[in-house]
């Protein structure tokens, strides 16, 4: 009888896919109802389950089957408790996922870099998204000596902390291009260097990009670094510099100097100060987002901020 509890749930789930299990689920539920109303179970489902289990064990060891047979009731209760404990745990996990998704926009929560399989409203994609409270973790931009795409006089600046060896930053780079195209004159993007030490050649790539920026060629150079991802060795980036039409001699000089490293460390320190724990991290006004967000995510926030600017302008 005890096993009918498990059988009812398992067969009900399997019954979604097969009519055979629907009949078994009905049988199991019937058994539960009769048991609950203190009547003997009419079905022999529990007997069949018991015999099937003991028979399978008996194939391997008669002794074990005998032990299982004589203690079957205890094992059944144990199985029921284990089943419900596992399900409660899974339910807790599910509830936590929904909570995280609702409050943080990602089912994995603020500290995770994992993929979120359930994302009906495209609030995050691939990485994680954290919408911070106002004033928390916020980097205000733009600053003067960092790469800036788009119009310098744009109303909104998206500050992006990224790593050229990071696949998520690479993905976000394309999204940023689309944002800049669609909000020309209204939005610009400021790049801040945050080379992740665990990504191979990330520091070389960051130094090369900084040197390209100093020659005013950051935007032309960045796609080459993203393309190579974790293969941005000194030799390779010097090759890209030639390809992108940079002054090779000045580039090499810059690349090998200590100053450029200090320049990068300034950005990393700013990122660390702001609590960054993954790339890319975006700051838009007083909100931060971690992970390669979808275009819609940026659009929602940009439109929201633009409309409040319009309201302020109209009020003035």
């Amino acid at each position: 009888m005890v096993l009918c509890f498990i059988a009812a749930i398992v067969y009900a789930v399997l019954g979604i896919f097969s009519a055979k299990y629907r009949a078994l689920a009905t049988e199991a539920f019937g058994c539960i109802i009769r048991t609950a109303s203190l009547r003997p179970c009419e079905t022999d489902l529990d007997t069949r389950i018991k015999a099937g289990l003991i028979g399978r064990v008996g194939k391997v060891s008669q002794g074990a089957a005998g032990f299982l047979a004589s203690n079957f009731k205890a094992f059944s209760w144990l199985a029921v408790f284990a089943f419900f404990a596992i399900n409660l745990f899974l339910f807790y996990q599910l509830a936590a996922g929904v909570y995280n998704w609702y409050y943080f926009g990602n089912c994995n929560g603020p500290e995770s870099t994992g993929f979120c399989p359930f994302n009906p409203f495209n609030t995050g994609e691939g990485g994680k998204s954290v919408i911070s409270e106002p004033g928390d973790l916020v980097v205000q931009g733009p600053i003067d000596d960092a790469p800036l795409y788009g119009s310098p006089s744009a109303w909104i600046t998206i500050v992006e902390f990224g790593c050229f060896s990071c696949p998520y930053t690479k993905k976000a780079f394309t999204t940023m291009q689309q944002v800049l195209d669609d909000y020309r004159g209204k939005v610009n993007v400021q790049w801040r260097f945050y080379p992740l030490p665990n990504h191979p050649t990330s520091n070389e790539a960051a130094k090369a990009a900084a040197c390209a920026y100093m020659q005013g060629k950051f935007r032309e150079f960045a796609p080459l670094l993203f393309e190579a991802q974790r293969n941005n060795t000194r030799e390779n980036v010097i090759g890209y510099a030639e390809k992108a039409g940079l002054d090779k001699e000045a580039f090499v000089k810059c690349f090998d100097k200590n100053e450029v490293q200090k320049y990068l460390e300034r950005d990393s320190a700013a990122g660390n100060f702001s609590g960054i724990y993954g790339t890319p991290t975006f700051f838009i006004g007083n909100k931060s987002y971690v992970g390669p967000q979808t275009y819609e995510t940026f659009k929602q926030e940009i439109d929201r901020q633009l409309s409040s600017y319009s309201e302020i302008t109209a009020a003035k």
Binding site: R48, I54, G66
Partner: protein
């Protein structure tokens, strides 16, 4: 009869590690001859018999008629006495519903019958169309002959009795019962579902009036069975299902029925099934029913003796093997559920047996198994190795459940 050689004719027994199949009272495996016969119809000649005039139809017509002849030869009747039905249940129902109970309406049967023999007549009794009386089997040897004889009198219209009991494997003395019944002016309907499959049944020799049996219990396909009846009685018997092929002419003012057996065979028939059953009869005939009967008895006597020696096994019914044939029903002492035993035999050793009431609840309860029993039923392809495998598995199951 060489069971090991016979196994080569059955594709399912030529697989690696075939089951030890002891559920033959439920249904049987099919030999190549039957499979090929059914396949011939479906693959090469899927046409109607007796209606259309084209070549395909003529070929089916011929095979269909030949199948009827094969069946008639198998049970020593005339082809025109063989009516195709879906199974023995339908054949029993046909007699129950088409029999003329005006004048005399008493039906006598036994408490050991299969539901297919009981229910059609219990239903008629409930409607008040017949008076139904039961002969209760002897406790000692489960024989029904004497009980039936006592119940049969001048008011009896029909005696309904098994040839071989599906629960116990014991056989009624049909010849004697028929003689007594005829002396009192009653007719005899024999449920031959187990009898025709496992014994040499001589329809004419036994002097019975109607005989019902199924194809699938005797190596034939499922969905085909027969009612065999003495021709004058079939002519007198009413119909319970009408349709195409049952009539000579139809006008809005009325219709003229065909002669038996056609008047009972409404609609398109199961040609593949009938041809398959013909092939099964021919196959069994070539091996010889006497040899098959002897083989089953020998095997079951071996099983019976070994099982009787097992501590925890209880055999239901007569405690001597004499009078039994290829079926044994039993239980494991201390184990309430027969299904538990059957399932474990299957899970642990791939031994197939039946458990429950075997569609004969009054009989199983009479035998002292109110929660059902386990039934082992052998056939021509079972070997001594199968028997030993079953015994070994049963010993293990009894050991496990007894701990």
């Amino acid at each position: 009869m060489d069971a090991k050689k016979i196994r080569d004719d059955f594709p399912i027994l030529c697989r690696q590690n075939p089951q030890a199949y002891f559920d033959n009272a439920c249904t049987t495996f099919k030999p190549n001859k039957v499979i090929e016969a059914v396949d011939w119809y479906n693959r090469e000649n899927p046409a109607c018999a007796g209606r259309s005039l084209h070549r395909l139809s003529a070929a089916v017509d011929e095979k269909f008629a030949r199948a009827r002849e094969e069946v008639a030869r198998h049970i020593n009747s005339k082809p025109e006495e063989v009516v195709w039905t879906r199974n023995s249940s339908e054949a029993m129902n046909l007699v129950a519903l088409a029999f003329d109970f005006t004048g005399k309406n008493k039906v006598v049967t036994t408490n050991l019958e299969h539901h297919s023999a009981l229910l059609p007549f219990m239903s008629l009794a409930k409607k008040g169309r017949i008076g139904l009386e039961f002969a209760i089997a002897e406790k000692s040897d489960c024989s029904v002959d004497a009980g039936l004889e006592k119940k049969i009198d001048e008011k009896t219209a029909l005696v309904v009795v098994h040839h071989t009991n599906n629960t116990l494997g014991t056989s009624a003395d049909i010849g004697r019962i028929a003689k007594v019944a005829h002396e009192k002016g009653a007719l005899v309907l024999v449920d031959g579902a187990q009898g025709v499959a496992h014994h040499k049944v001589d329809f004419r020799g036994l002097g019975i009036d109607f005989l019902a049996f199924s194809g699938h219990k005797m190596l034939g396909p499922t969905g085909i069975g027969c009612l065999v009846g003495k021709y004058p009685l079939l002519e007198k018997l009413g119909t319970f299902m009408l349709g195409g092929e049952t009539v000579e002419t139809v006008g809005l003012e009325g219709f003229v029925l065909k002669k038996p057996p056609k008047k009972f065979e409404a609609g398109i028939q199961d040609y593949a099934g009938a041809i398959g059953l013909g092939a099964a009869c021919s196959y069994l005939g070539n091996i010889g029913m006497r040899g098959i009967e002897e083989h089953e008895k020998k095997l079951c006597r071996y099983l019976f003796d070994k099982m009787k020696a097992m501590d925890r096994i209880r055999i239901f019914g007569p405690q001597e093997f004499a009078g039994r044939s290829g079926t044994i029903i039993f239980g494991v002492n201390g184990v309430k559920s027969a299904h538990e035993v059957a399932l474990m035999l299957s899970e642990m050793s791939d031994v197939c047996v039946r458990s429950g009431m075997f569609c004969a609840q009054p009989a199983v309860e009479f035998l002292g198994a109110p929660h059902g029993a386990v039934r082992l039923s052998a056939y021509l392809y079972n070997t001594i190795e199968d028997a030993d495998r079953f015994l070994d598995a049963l010993q293990k199951v009894a050991g496990i459940l007894g701990k």
